[in-house]
């Protein structure tokens, strides 16, 4: 869906959102809802919607829109919401820099290189895929090695195929989805290979992308070599031990012309670095408050740029909050600062936001280190909730209500998830 082009670029906006994917679009809606008048979304693609435009499969929107949608349907809803609220969307544009005084440098064909000022900025640039270079697969560097997301764009937006016979490294959802996609387009998928001893994606995708098409999933196996002078000619796979060391005596060559790597997402934090924002070493995204404000006044962040999500519905939720925060900041409504620190305890890798207040309700997102079922989520001594299961691949959310913290006078609360005896009391 193409949004109308803004006729002029104003020299100043209340809120400027960097990134027009689901995070940026929801943040813009949040900003308008909190009273910001002039809101601009800047996006580098020819149309907003971000990565959703190429995610043609269903599974989005059950929480946020109350129905199951495909990626493009979700994107269209999100775009419509911004258009309805008279948010300006500048497409095919790129933010080169954001200074600490919230002056942005933007470049676009339509408006050239321009500076804009913003009452508040929301960073919503999303994530990039981890590449072959990052895991240093030995071998040659032929064409035909690409990330699963790039292959997805070639197929779904470009109407091309990445090759004729593919091997997929990584059992995350993007890899699984592409396994099915390629088969439906007549590409042979030899198998999916996963370094860990367990699959990373949803069981739904294991069944509907692999089992349905008899595509084998090889766990504890990785690609140890790529061969091919100009184009991939074969890859070599080998099983790994508990320390992820490949056993080369059991290596196997697989003739193929395509290797898709689906080995993780990394928050795209170029602008965060330029702004000198404090980053969380666990999420590698900016540290944020409970209004999603970063360590620079008036600069907010949301979506995959803060921490990698698995459900776009949570992205929208979190981003509306960031947008509301940015809007409130821009029009001068003060928000009480956070007064409780959440410290990750047993089996909790991180919490976003890492700090909250005692005066408002908060949704805290967290990820666990290892699977546990059944278990109990503990918020210090003030609250606990039984959970049937937790998995590293599925974000856990916790609604913290002020009444949980009524008797609490400390500064920090550990958040932990511990095993629970089956049938034990909650």
């Amino acid at each position: 869906m193409i949004t109308p082009k803004p006729a002029h670029l104003q020299p100043r906006y209340d809120v400027v959102v960097v990134g027009g994917g689901p995070a940026g679009l929801a943040a813009a809606v949040g900003a308008r809802e909190s009273g910001a008048e002039r809101v601009l979304v800047i996006d580098r693609e020819p149309e907003a919607g971000g990565i959703l435009q190429q995610c043609i499969h269903p599974g989005f929107g059950l929480h946020h829109f109350g129905e199951e949608l495909t990626g493009p349907e979700y994107a269209q809803r999100a775009i419509e919401q911004t258009v309805e609220r008279e948010v300006d969307v500048l497409s095919s544009a790129y933010v080169l820099d954001v200074a600490s005084d919230r002056r942005l440098k933007v470049t676009s064909r339509d408006h050239g290189v321009a500076y804009l000022d913003a009452g508040a900025v929301v960073l919503a640039m999303g994530a990039r895929e981890r590449t072959r270079g990052a895991i240093r697969i030995p071998g040659e560097r032929p064409a035909g090695v690409m990330t699963a997301g790039f292959a997805q764009k070639l197929v779904n937006l470009g109407g091309m195929l990445p090759g004729r016979r593919a091997v997929i490294l990584g059992s995350g959802d993007i890899g699984l989805i592409m396994a099915r996609r390629l088969v439906l387009e007549g590409v042979e998928v030899e198998g999916v290979y996963e370094l860990m001893p367990h699959a990373n994606g949803l069981n739904r995708n294991i069944v509907q992308c692999l089992h349905d098409y008899d595509i084998p999933l090889h766990l504890s196996t990785t690609v140890v070599r790529i061969d091919g002078r100009e184009r991939v000619e074969r890859v070599t796979v080998a099983p790994v031990d508990a320390s992820y060391r490949p056993d080369m005596t059991k290596a196997r060559d697989i003739p193929c012309d395509t290797l898709l790597v689906s080995i993780g997402l990394i928050p795209d934090n170029e602008l965060a670095h330029r702004l000198g924002l404090r980053l969380d070493p666990v999420t590698t995204g900016p540290v944020v408050t409970s209004t999603m404000e970063t360590t620079r006044d008036g600069v907010f962040a949301c979506g995959n740029v803060v921490h990698i999500h698995d459900l776009v519905d949570y992205v929208s939720q979190e981003s509306m909050l960031a947008g509301r925060g940015a809007g409130a900041y821009a029009i001068g409504t003060p928000t009480p600062p956070d007064n409780v620190r959440l410290t990750p305890g047993e089996n909790v890798r991180y919490c976003v936001p890492p700090t909250i207040t005692t005066d408002r309700e908060h949704t805290v997102y967290m990820r666990v280190t290892k699977p546990m079922a059944p278990c109990t989520l503990h918020l210090g001594d003030v609250y606990k909730r039984p959970l049937r299961y937790v998995f590293p691949g599925e974000m856990v959310t916790l609604k913290v209500r002020p009444r949980f913290l009524e008797g609490f006078h400390g500064g920090s609360l550990p958040v932990s998830i511990v095993p629970r005896e089956e049938g034990g009391s909650a």
Binding site: A143, M160, E230
Partner: protein, 491 residues
């Protein structure tokens, strides 16, 4: 087609020779088997312009290293490729190595290399805070530099072409016959083995030249043997290099060497011209077509790099490559006239060949002149080429006026390296026909996302400007397609 000189090989040596030849009134051609110049060893090396003191006294390598070093400023001024004298440090960890430093320093001083100094631990720590505290002394050489070697190739070739040299790309030499007027070189299209004799090849072309320069890198021996001008062997010694995330820009400011051993300069930490940190290279004998990086190579490189700068980690790796050094039996350059009149050799060009390249070119021209080639200077020789636009390096005012001239410079194609559509279009106009051709001219695709974002945009621009289908776009010519068309009636 009849030429005065045919240069076989379009690497940095062949391109430097071509550029020298283009100063004179003669007809010259560079024959290169890849689809662009510089795609062999010349793009897969450390990019170092050596300071001039490491090369042993009384050797051709040593002499030409220093001579060549001094010629790079003028070249960079004319040809606008990335070149910067960042200086280098050779590091000693014990007393024996300190003695080696002094010996190398003397060697350099005798040669006339200026500015050599010994730094103690305090100075090292002040100037390069991220280097290991186990380093007891370092030899500083300000004359060392870093260059983008592929850029140098493109610009040398472009300058040569501007001044009348022909480029015969995608041609592999299959045979050379001596004739009464000189040589007849049989070439076939594409990259094929030099001794392949398949029946289904396209009709071989004949390139005639009075003189031939053999700058064919790894295959210089096979080429020379075609006219029995050889009698030497070239072996391949592979070097793996690893590129690190840009967050480490400035981590070290100078090229950092360990103390050299008889066989190798060691694993280095190199701040490349564009700021990306590179570590390597390894040195292992291998076949001439083995460009694979290896787990062992990776381990060796990171271990070696950490010895010099303990904070370096595999986690920062964004890309890797391997290059093959063309090594002669004597480890020396094989440079000058051969036993066949009119056939000049520029072989065995391993480190410091990149540094020496401009000097090697003058040696080659001397040899050609001695062999009877008349060198009459062109009065219309244009030393320069238009400076390529680098949007990321322009001031705001410069960017605005550039964009006013052509709005294509306002649309970003590569976000990791900040490369605009205008720059990619320029690269295609100046000869890029592949994704690698764009990458090595503009940096698009070299950043941390390794082409995840920009490949699409570059494909579209190649498709538009070269009028080829998207599925005909290749990474580096030949069979290196990115995508194929849908299969009709699929599923």
């Amino acid at each position: 087609m009849r030429y005065d000189v045919a240069v076989i090989g379009g690497g940095v040596i062949g391109c430097a020779i071509a550029r020298e030849l283009s100063r004179y009134r003669l007809r010259a051609v560079v024959i290169e088997r890849e689809c662009e110049v510089g795609l062999g060893t010349s793009k897969a090396n450390s990019g170092i312009i050596h300071a001039g003191h490491h090369g042993a006294a009384g050797t051709l390598k040593g002499e030409l290293e220093w001579r060549g070093n001094q010629m790079w400023d003028a070249l960079a001024d004319d040809l606008h490729f990335g070149f910067k004298r960042v200086g280098d440090l050779t590091c000693a960890f014990d007393e024996d190595q300190r003695a080696t430093l002094r010996q190398i320093m003397e060697q350099g001083k005798r040669r006339g290399v200026p500015g050599l100094e010994l730094w103690g631990p305090e100075r090292i720590r002040r100037e390069e805070p991220h280097l290991s505290h186990d380093i007891v002394e370092a030899l500083y050489a300000p004359t060392a530099g870093v260059v983008n070697p592929y850029e140098a190739c493109f610009m040398l070739a472009e300058s040569a072409v501007r001044n009348g040299v022909d480029l015969a790309l995608e041609r592999t030499v299959r045979g050379i016959r001596r004739s009464e007027k000189g040589f007849e070189i049989e070439v076939v299209a594409g990259v094929v083995a030099h001794d392949a004799r398949d029946g289904d090849d396209a009709t071989p072309e004949l390139i005639k030249a009075r003189f031939v320069v053999d700058a064919a890198g790894l295959h210089a021996d096979a080429i020379a043997d075609m006219v029995d001008a050889g009698g030497f062997h070239i072996r391949a010694r592979k070097g793996e290099e690893y590129l690190l995330d840009k967050r480490l820009v400035g981590y070290v400011k100078r090229i950092v060497f360990p103390c050299p051993t008889p066989t190798s300069k060691g694993i280095l930490v190199i701040p490349t011209y564009d700021g990306t940190l590179m570590v390597g290279p390894t040195a292992t004998w291998t076949d001439k077509d083995d460009l694979a990086t290896t787990a062992e190579g990776s381990a060796e490189v990171f271990e070696g790099a950490r010895k010099l700068a303990p904070g370096i980690s595999e986690k920062d790796c964004i890309a890797e490559f391997a290059g093959l050094r063309a090594v002669s039996d004597t480890e020396e350059f094989i440079l000058g006239p051969s036993r066949v009149a009119g056939f000049v050799l520029a072989a065995g060009m391993q480190s410091p060949a990149l540094t020496a390249a401009p000097a090697v070119a003058t040696v080659v021209l001397d040899a050609l002149r001695d062999d009877g080639l008349e060198l009459v200077a062109r009065d219309d020789f244009e030393p320069g080429v238009p400076a390529p636009v680098r949007f990321a390096e322009l001031s705001y005012a410069e960017q605005r006026s550039l964009v006013a001239r052509d709005p294509a410079y306002a649309r970003l194609v590569c976000r990791c390296e900040i490369v605009t559509e205008g720059e990619v279009r320029d690269a295609i106009e100046r000869g890029a026909r592949t994704l690698d051709g764009i990458k090595f001219r503009t940096r698009a695709g070299m950043g941390r996302c390794q082409g995840g974002f920009c490949t699409w945009g570059c494909m579209e621009l190649l498709h538009e400007q070269l009028d080829i289908p998207l599925t005909a776009v290749t990474k580096r010519g030949g069979d290196s397609y990115v995508a194929i068309p849908r299969l009709e009636g699929a599923a």
